[in-house]
Amino acid sequence: MYFTDTKICIDGDNGLGKDAVIVAADLVKTYKTKKRKGLFRGEKKLVEALKGISFKVYRGEIVGLLGPNGAGKTTTIKILATLLLPDSGDAWVNGYHVVKQPFGVRKSIGIMLTVERGFYGKLTGRENLEYFGALYGLDRRYMEERIDYLMKLLELDKLGAVDRMFEEYSLGMKARLGLARALLKDPPVLLLDEPTLGLDPSSSRMIRELVRKLAHREGKTILYTTHNMFEAEIVCDRILLINKGRIVAEGSPEQLKSLIPKLRIINMVIRGGKGVEEIVSSMGFEKYEAKYEDTIVNLKISVEKPEDVLGELIRRIVNAGHEIISLKVEEPTLEDVFLYYASKT
């Protein structure tokens, strides 16, 4: 447990530094579901969504919660957004305890939970933002200025979306409007739950770039969930790999890659393929894969130090009369890291 008292966190005098803006300490959540057995009978079932996760996010940092569907990402975001009570554990956002001081948390956060839904269909983008601005208690004049600014920032004005009804929006426009709502009260903390899910490349890129800008230029603290490895790698400063309700690894994308056994992949495309597998096995490689297409072989070999074996491998293949069409040595991707940890839990 990081903290036992709300005040300790507000003071920042907790040995963890004042800049920990989001703190989760041993969060546990179990959902009760019912498995139906016929019309009248049902069996209660407990689903452990979070099994005691702890983490911190510092000011101006983008931390990615990366994991497959059902890993516990949305549950974590919901608890931090005061939309779900944890069974046990504590969490603080901007110094406020999520259970004891929910109004303080709500004033500090901007949330984006789904891309497709969450607005009134018959209202225009501007009217929707005005509606939520009023619920956030924003001053009228400030709200108007802020909406104009956000419409420009998210290029909704260029897309002609400002005065168009939400029900006529494309998915990309909906996502941009969702982010505009999250930024409406200019909160210090953003909780973004898969903000680019299902978006076209240009909208995704725009949102990713904006998220980085918000954190690194404006100092916003951002918790960003995704199951897109590529996105996590390019957006997040730090990644928390979450699987089955537990954080299984934590670090920057580079740190995470360095944590797994240092296997690299030699990827070769060879012409005149028969006999290639014999060469590979004669050299003692254990992890390799060969795919044949007529006379072309796609060969993938996993090795720890490719520089030690590559020369000899090329020499043997060429001496056997084969032609190497292409050759590359691949670094492990975040996906490899994720699969490695997923297989361990």
Binding site: L83, T124, L135
Partner: protein, 271 residues
Amino acid sequence: MASLFLLAVWAEMKMVYAELIRRKYMLLMLAAYPYILMIFILLIGMSIGNRQIFIQRIGVSPEIFFLVSGFLIMSILGTSDDLLWRPIYDEWIGTLPYVIASHIPRLYHYLAIPIPRLLIAFFTGLTSVLPLMVYYYGLHGFIEGLAVILLGLFSSIIFIPFIMVVMGFIYGFGNVNWRVINVIRPILLVLLGAYYPRYLMPLAGYIVSSLVPSSHVVEAIQRLLIGSLNGLYAFILLGVATALFIVYSPIGVYSIGLWEKRKISEGVKTE
């Protein structure tokens, strides 16, 4: 704090009017509703009863009685519909998490929700109650009609905390479901006494009905129509209604809190 309430009213007005103006058939329906209801009930009444006997028993012509009843039902039950539907609608379109995560005081928000529709009800009163009253009673009918409309709006406003209590407890202990509204609506319809005057109800019915703040105002309106409302009795009825409004307000806020707590403990749906 007052500015927060005004902001909430302004936001709700924009939302409701944008929806209504962009669905013109709804505006038309709202204007026609009291007339449609009156014609429907009169047709049934005429097929099974007699107009003269109705006037003898109730003390007012059935056209006026049922048109006013239709107007009252539209304004008062419109309030309950607005409040009871809102969480269901918000959950359905995915706005509920953002509403719950907002920091506006809940009493302000729930008081603000029905106000736009009440203003529409005011204009509906001008297009339904007023012309008929003027037709029957001339200038006196104009003044009486205006009083009926204003009292109708007052009865709708004082209905809000009562509905918050009902909503919070039903949704808090039960489930947020549109079927619940279908059960509550007819009960409220009877308890309000708009179609069956409260003073004609058996004692038990009268007592239960008295717990609903708006039923006192409805009785005042009905007595005004039949000409049996004196100043003291009107003061008592409106005084009791206002007292109930004051009593129900904190309980309403508490019960809404109860519902939100339940919602948060099981998790607000986000997908």
